[in-house]
Each structure stands twice: as C-alpha cells, then as structure tokens.
C-alpha cells in the first residue's frame, strides 16, 4: 500500500512541477485574449422595392467597398486607408480579402484550417497565400476562397441563406509577421440562431460576427 502511495505522491509532485514550469514559460509572453466583433457591416444595402420578376433584385445604395480591419488595433480602418498597410483583412458581402497582391499594398497572407479557436494553438509555419494567385475559378484567386463550400461559408439557394461552415478557422499572417486566428460566427445582424434573410425574411445580411485571437508577440503559439 505504502509503495503505491509513494508512487502516487511522486507522480503528483512531478505533475505539479511540470505545470509550474509551463506556466513560467507562458509568463514570458504578453497575454493573448479572444475578442468578439459583433455586426461588422460589410456593405449592407436594402433590396429594391418592389422586387422584379425577371431578374435578381438590386441592392440599393451599396458602396461596393470593403470594410477593413486591423488586428493590431482591433478596430475598423477607414476605407480611405485602403492603399496603406494599416489594415489586415477586409469584408464585402461574402468576399473576404487580405492586404496583399491584387487587394492591397501590404504583405498579409492567410489560409483556412479545420479546427476550432481552442484546438488550433499554433499557427502553421507555411501554407499562407496572398490575394494575387492566378486561377481559373474565383475559388483560386484569393487567399480565402470565394464561393459556396469553397472557403468559409455555404449558400443555400432555396432559403437564400449564407451559413459560416463550422470548424473553418482563418489563420492570418500580418505584414509585420504576427499571427491571428479568426472564426466567422454569423453573417446576419444580431447573429440570430435561425436567420431568415431578406428579402423574404427580416434578417439583414452582410453583418459579420466573428471571434479572433491576435498574438502580438513574435511567436506562432496562440
């Protein structure tokens, strides 16, 4: 019995020590927090009224401009700065761009991984793409592929619904070699549990709710 007891206590001591050591290692880094951005407007515009019978309806007053976002500041960057390196990622309708290649003057790159914000704890060393990759389909042109089922969302024709695919994490490598991981949670204002999109329903689209973790330190661990 006493032998088992001593083995158990030894195991406990070893376990505590290891936990303590790893805590110490973490303290070398600035704390990393998860932030949720609610209802980022990505060029919402109402449908024309009355709706036409012979063609898809127009969106009245759409600016056709991207809403730009910086992970460093955790805030929206005015569209006037679109030609600067101040922003990392941009949203317009279902299209998401990063600041590189055909989208901007920066060197931001990104890739989509399968996982959750809690299971992906290290950004990959490579595999990042910029927005200038030539390709035959829109899915191949941007770092974050466009089109239903290709990137971060699926589109259902019968319900006119855009649903962010569960388990798609966008990992971004910013121009100053910092990393961020991002999960899109909703495409509708107020992130309703079962959205009923306009024009048939009342929920406004092009409103992003997303959760992200930005690592301000020089490490791929987050």
């Amino acid at each position: 019995m006493s032998l088992i007891k001593s083995i158990l206590s030894l195991a406990l001591i070893v376990g505590f020590t290891m936990a303590f050591v790893s805590c110490n290692e973490d303290e070398d880094l600035l704390p990393v927090v998860a932030t949720t951005i609610n209802d980022l407007n990505a060029d919402y515009a109402p449908y024309e009224s009355p709706l036409p019978n012979d063609r898809p309806p127009l969106r009245i007053g759409a600016t056709n401009k991207f809403t730009l976002f910086s992970f460093k500041t955790g805030a929206i960057v005015p569209n006037a700065d679109s030609t600067s390196s101040n922003w990392d990622i941009g949203f317009r309708s279902t299209t998401i761009i990063v600041n590189s290649g055909t989208s901007g003057p920066g060197t931001t790159t990104a890739q989509i991984l399968n996982g959750t914000l809690t299971t992906i704890i290290e950004a990959p060393f490579d595999g990042y793409k910029s927005d200038d990759k030539a390709g035959t389909t829109p899915a191949e042109r941007n770092a974050i592929p466009a089109g239903s089922g290709n990137g971060w969302y699926t589109y259902t024709g019968s319900t006119n619904l855009v649903a962010p695919i569960a388990g798609k994490i966008i990992v971004v490598k910013t121009g100053d070699n910092r990393y961020a991981k991002l999960e899109i949670l909703s495409y509708y204002e107020g992130a309703p549990a079962s959205p009923s999109p306009e024009p048939a329903g009342a929920d406004k689209d092009r409103y992003y709710t997303f959760r992200y973790v930005y690592q301000p330190n020089d490490t791929r661990i987050f």
Partner: protein, 732 residues
C-alpha cells in the same frame, strides 16, 4: 435506318439463343416433368413468385429476400393506388420527389430512382424527375405484387439496385366480373369494373377505372392547394389465346390519362405571382407475349413491349392570362426480348435471354424539341443448381451494352440452405447499376420559375458553356468545364443475408441483414455563374454512399381467421466521404444559440437526408369467410429523419432544411422531422358471395405536418360497394 438496326440485332440474338437451346435439347433423357408442375403438385398452397428468377418458383424456395402482397390483402386494406399499398410494407417508404410533391418509393435507403417498377415484367416509364409517380397505378386489376429486395440487374439491367417491384395483373380465368364504387374524403370518387371470360382457347379480360379527387390543402392560409384536383382514367386489357397445349399467346395493353388543374403562387425573386394552368399525363403500352414449350425440358418466351409516356404542363398569369411557364416531356421505350428455360434434370435449370431496348425522349427541357435516343443490347443467363434437397444455388449475370455509357456486367449469386424444418438460411450478393438518365445527359433547362438557374446535361454542357462564354454571359467558372463529360453508370455492390425461423409452431420470423455499397453516384455540380448572377449546374459522378441495416418480420395466426404481423427495419444510410471526414476529425458543428464550435464525433453523424433509422408496423388482419366479415387494423410507424435543401416549394412555403449547425450534414444536433405513426382501419362484409360493403378510415388520428410532409394528407374516410359474379366451371 433506325428501324433496321434493332431488328438485325434482335434477329441475330434470337438465332443465337434458339440454336444454343436446340443444341441443349438434343440429348433427350427420360421424361422428367418440368419444375413448375412438380412444385405446383407438391406445394399447392404456397404462393408462386415470378420476379426473382423470371420463372415461377415457390416463394419459400427462393434464396433472396422476397415478399408478396396478395389481392385479398389489397382488398381488405381498401387501397386504391399503388402508393397506398407500398407505404404499409416493412422497409418501404413513400417519399416525395424533388419539389416535395409526388410519391416515389424508397427501399433499403435508396432513392426512388434506384428501384425498378414493372407491370407483368415490363418496366413502367415516365421517370420525369427521376422517380416514378406511384399513384399512376390503379390497384383494382392487381393479382399480386412481388417485391424482391437487393440488386436484380443480373436479370433486369439498369435501375434495379435497391430492388424490383413487379405488379402482376389479373389474367382471364373463367367467366367473372366485378363493379365497384368508392367515395371518400376530399370528394374522392373511384369507379372501377372488370370483366373476363374464357371460351375454349380464347380468354379476354378488361379493366377500367376512373379516379377523381379534389386534392387537399394543408396550408389554407396560402393560395392554391397542396395537391391540386385531378381526374384520371385507366384502361387495361389482356387477351390470351391457346394455339395448342404447348403454345400460348397473351396480348396486354394499357392506357392511362390524367388531367390536373393547377392554381399556384410561384415565387420569383422574392415576389409572388398567382398562376393557373393544367397538367396532362398519358401513358400507354402494348405487350404481346408468346410462350412455347418445345419439349418437356425446353420452354421459350418471346416478348415484345412498347410503351409511351407524355406529360405537358402550362401555367398562365392570373392577372393578364399570358403564358408564364410551359413544359413538355415525351418518352418511349421499345423492347423485344427472347428468353428460354431449359430443364436439364431436377438439379439443374438454365435460363438464357437477350434483347434490345430503344429509348427516346423529346422535351422542351433540352432547349430544342429534338428527339434524343439511346440503344441497349443485352444478354443474360441464370443457372439454378440444387445439389441436394436442402441446398440450392442460383448464379446469374447480365451484360448490357449501351450506345452512350458503354458496357456493364452485373453478376449475382444466391444460395439457400435448409438447416432443418424450422431454420432456413439465405444469402445473396450481386451488382446493380443505374444508367445516367436522359436528364443528366441532355438537360438544357433554365428554370425561370424558381429563381433562375440553369442545368446542363453532360453531353451538351461544354458546347453550351462555350456559346455563353463567346456571348460574354459567363461571369466566372466555378468548376473547370473540361473535366465534365463522360458520365458513367452508378454502381452498387450488395449483400443480403438472412434466415427464416419457425420460433413456435406457426410463429414465423424472417430476418435479413443488408449492406449496399454505392459508387459513382451522380450529383449536380455548380459550374459557372452568369453575368446576371444565375448559377449554371451540370452533373458529375462524385458521390459514394452506403446503406446497411436489418429487416425483420414476424407473422402469427392468433386464430384461423385472425393474423398478427410485425415488421421492423433498422437503417444506416451514409455518405462515405462524409463518414471518413468525420472519422478523421475534420467535421465540426456550431451551436446556433451559443455560437460555440465543437468537433463532431463519429457516432453523432446521422447520415443521409430523408432516411429514418427506425421503421415498424403492426398489422391485424381478420377474415371470416363463413359470415363474410373481414377487417384490418394497421399501425405504420416512421422514425425521425432529416430533410435537405429542397429546391422549389409548395404553396410558397419554404421548407426549412434540417441542418441548423453550419456543417451541411445531418448530425444528431440538427432539427429533425419528428417520427410519427399512422393508424388505418377497415371493415368489410360480403353478402351472398357477390355484394361487398366496406367502410374505412386512413390516418385515424389526422396526423399532418403541412410544411414538412406535404404528401401526407389528413384523415380520410371512405365507403365502398362492389358487386361481383363468377362462373368458375367454364374454366378450360
């Protein structure tokens, strides 16, 4: 030219088979009576099934899962249309078609397109949207319905993956006649009559039916009906002539006409437009069959079958009467076939056959009204080997050669072993296939009624896309068009294994375990987006799936007049790629309320849409001939299932897809259509063997799901009267 080619092939096939069979019949051994008469003599009470082997065999002797629905059972149930009967059988589900309307049949988890439906061994055509509308078939002249589960492409070719349903119609027998009228809920009036007589060598049988219903409306708050009113007529005839004791001719014909009056509110880009219109469907067929017994050992059957199907629909705007939508579809199927059965001895029976099929389709949906055709030539063999009394083996195969998708070989091997007089084992394995249909090859269809998308068949897609590209109408390609084309047949590899056990005297249990592995499934592929934002789809062989499960049936005669039966099916039907992704931990789900994302565990993936894990039925049938009373109580349960993205809608109602947690698959955290049980009752009394009165109610507790299950009407009462006479003594 088109006419000569088939004739040539058939002639050569006939020559080939006859010479082979003549060779076989040369060595004449001692006279042994053919197997049919032998089995008839010894087991007169047991039902004969023709579908499983193409020859009459006693049901219990067959090594594959078969079931039979008798005329008496159909009458007691008070059924009118084929879907009424099939929906009450274990493992069979009547499911709506693409636009959530209509009635197709699901067997062992396969979509309706994968079950072959035959009348007297000949296929019914008109798979307009893939599945057959079962309500086209009136049941008044049905002698029995035979259902063979598992692939039967080895005998029947394309479409027989899930199984074969063969409707055997009445033949002239003695002098008899019947007239019946039934009236019920929804102003449903069914009038039918049949008359038959035999005079020396000639037999004549005629059947006629008129069916009308006002349809029903599950969502009265919306414009139009859930099912619009329709009226149809069915005429059937069968004439038999016995040229000699060894030569029989049978000529059968069918004519069907249905008119439906539509009032629809169609949704176009968010706004609703009221329309009114008509739909007409017609089919007819002609089927002479010549049977000749060359010797006691050799029987040959020459069959010819030609059938035509036509449907036309139009919708006019209610505001100004201008044409809003128009659609037509014509199909024909012609098949000469020759097959022969050679009885070597009581241990070996060989069946050989071959034929040629010409199929033609003409529809507005192909962009032009040009006729498209495909031709198939085929040959099949089947050997029944009974090495000992307790063991039988059936091996067979069929080769189909088609002008478009090439050659297909479909083998099948079945075996039955009688352990003792209480336990019998059966096992069968085989390959089934389904040819790409005309739609998948030639569609050139722009659906302006449902939001404006286009579907292009693989044979026309590349050219049509190039035309659009030159005209500057393509905004972007979503898929490389060069990778389209050359659709292959969908194929399944299946195994069925089971046992029949007599647990107690008279208490019988049937058990069957099945696994179907299906590859090359054809699915729509988004190919491009036009400059006006509309999607263009085509087809590819992309999906792989499997279905597996267990079916069991118990039957117990409580008294001589009262029979209790129980049926149950357990089913797992899954996409193979999704299953592998889930196992690899690559599929997640997000709680729509908390927005927390989690990894999906393998046991949390439910499977394909529209498949219930559990199904069961309990039935009591009562039949007391001395007093003429009969009755039935049937409870049919269908377990919960999911629904996918259904294009189009009924009465403007959007059917909410089951997937609510952002992974595009059906998992246990999604919304399901709840399971439900239907209770059906009927009672009938026959007076003086000729007058019969019946009262019944289907769906006694009035269960409905207006949006989710539009093909389930509420409670239906009915009453019927019939008069019949017969003079069996005139029988030859």
């Amino acid at each position: 030219m088109l006419i000569f080619a088939p004739v040539k092939i058939v002639t050569s096939l006939i020559t080939c088979i006859t010479s082979l069979l003549t060779l076989l019949s040369m060595p004449c051994f001692a006279q042994v009576s053919p197997v049919e008469s032998d089995t008839l003599a010894t087991r007169q009470l047991e039902a004969l099934i023709v579908t499983a082997t193409r020859n009459e065999r006693t049901m219990g002797a067959l090594p594959m899962p078969v079931s039979l629905i008798s005329k008496n059972q159909i009458r007691t149930m008070g059924s009118l249309r084929l879907n009424d009967i099939l929906t009450e059988q274990t493992g069979l589900v009547v499911v709506p078609q693409v636009n959530a309307q209509g009635n197709g049949i699901q067997i062992q988890g396969f979509n309706p397109d994968y079950t072959l439906i035959l009348i007297d061994g000949e296929p019914i055509i008109g798979r307009y949207t893939g599945s057959l509308e079962l309500s086209r078939i009136a049941v008044g002249n049905i002698k029995q319905i035979e259902i063979v589960k598992g692939p039967s492409s080895s005998l029947y070719g394309s479409d027989a993956l899930a199984g074969v349903i063969n409707i055997i119609t009445d033949r002239p027998q003695g002098t008899r006649g019947n007239a019946a009228i039934r009236y019920g809920t929804n102003n449903t009036l069914d009038v039918n009559g049949d008359i038959g007589f035999t005079k020396k060598k000639l037999g004549v049988y005629l059947y006629g039916n008129r069916y009308h219903t006002d349809g029903y409306d599950l969502s009265p708050q919306n414009f139009g009906n859930t099912v619009s009113p329709f009226t149809n007529y069915t005429l059937n005839s069968k004439i038999t002539y016995k040229f000699s004791p060894v030569t029989d001719l049978s000529v059968a014909g069918r004519f069907f006409n249905e008119d439906q009056v539509f009032r629809f509110e169609v949704e176009s880009n968010g706004s609703r437009i009221r329309t009114a219109g008509n739909g007409n469907t017609q089919d007819w067929n002609f089927n002479p069959v010549l049977t000749h017994r060359f010797t006691d050992k050799l029987k040959a059957i020459a069959r010819f079958y030609s059938t035509h199907y036509k449907t036309e629909t139009y919708l006019d705007l209610e505001t100004d009467g201008s044409r809003y939508y128009e659609d037509d579809f014509r199909q024909s199927f012609t098949r000469p076939e020759l097959n022969a059965e050679y009885y070597f001895n009581e241990k070996n029976i060989l069946t050989l056959g071959g034929g040629y099929i010409n199929e033609q389709v003409q529809t507005s949906r192909y962009g032009d009204e040009e006729q498209r055709s495909q031709e198939t030539s085929y040959a099949f063999f089947q050997h029944e080997w009974l090495p000992m009394e307790k063991l039988s083996v059936i091996a067979g195969g069929r080769y189909d050669y088609n002008t478009i998708y090439g050659g297909q070989f479909s083998p099948k091997l079945s075996s039955r072993f009688e352990l003792n007089n209480k336990v019998t084992f059966k096992v069968s394995g085989g390959v089934g296939f389904k040819a790409p249909d005309f739609r998948q090859l030639y569609f050139n269809f722009n659906n302006s009624a449902a939001g404006g998308y286009s579907v292009l068949g693989t044979e026309v897609a590349i050219d049509r896309l190039a035309e659009l590209d030159v005209a500057g109408q393509i905004q972007a390609y979503l898929f490389d068009p060069a990778q389209l084309g050359n659709l292959q047949a969908e194929r399944s590899l299946s195994i069925n294994a089971g046992a029949t056990v007599e647990i107690l005297p008279l208490l019988k249990m049937d058990l069957n375990v099945f696994h179907n592995s299906i590859n090359n499934l054809i699915e729509t592929q988004a190919v491009a987006i036009t400059t006006s934002g509309q999607s263009i789809y085509s087809y590819r062989n992309i999906l792989r799936a499997f279905t597996q499960g267990l079916e069991s049936n118990f039957s117990y005669p409580i008294t001589r007049h009262l029979n209790l039966s129980l049926g149950y099916q357990l089913l797992y039907a899954k996409d193979k790629d999704v299953s592998e992704d889930v196992k690899a931990g690559e599929v997640y789900w997000r709680d729509p309320n908390t927005l927390v994302t989690k990894r999906l565990k393998p046991n949390e993936y439910f499977g394909l849409y529209n498949r219930s894990r559990h199904m069961s039925n309990v039935k009591l049938f009562y039949n007391h001939q001395p007093t003429g009373w009969e009755g039935s109580l049937r409870v049919i349960y269908r377990g919960q299932y999911g629904i996918g993205d259904i294009r189009g809608n009924i009465q403007g109602e959007v059917i909410p897809p089951s997937d609510t947690n952002s992974n595009s698959i059906l998992d246990v955290y999604d919304d399901f259509v709840p399971g439900y049980a239907l209770v059906n009752l009927s009672v009938a009394k026959t007076i003086k063997h000729s007058f019969r009165f019946q009262l019944g109610v289907d769906n006694l507790f009035d269960y409905t799901e207006p949006v989710l299950i539009p093909n389930l009407p509420g409670r239906l009462y009915y009453a019927s009267v019939s008069y019949s006479f017969s003079k069996k003594n005139v029988q030859p």
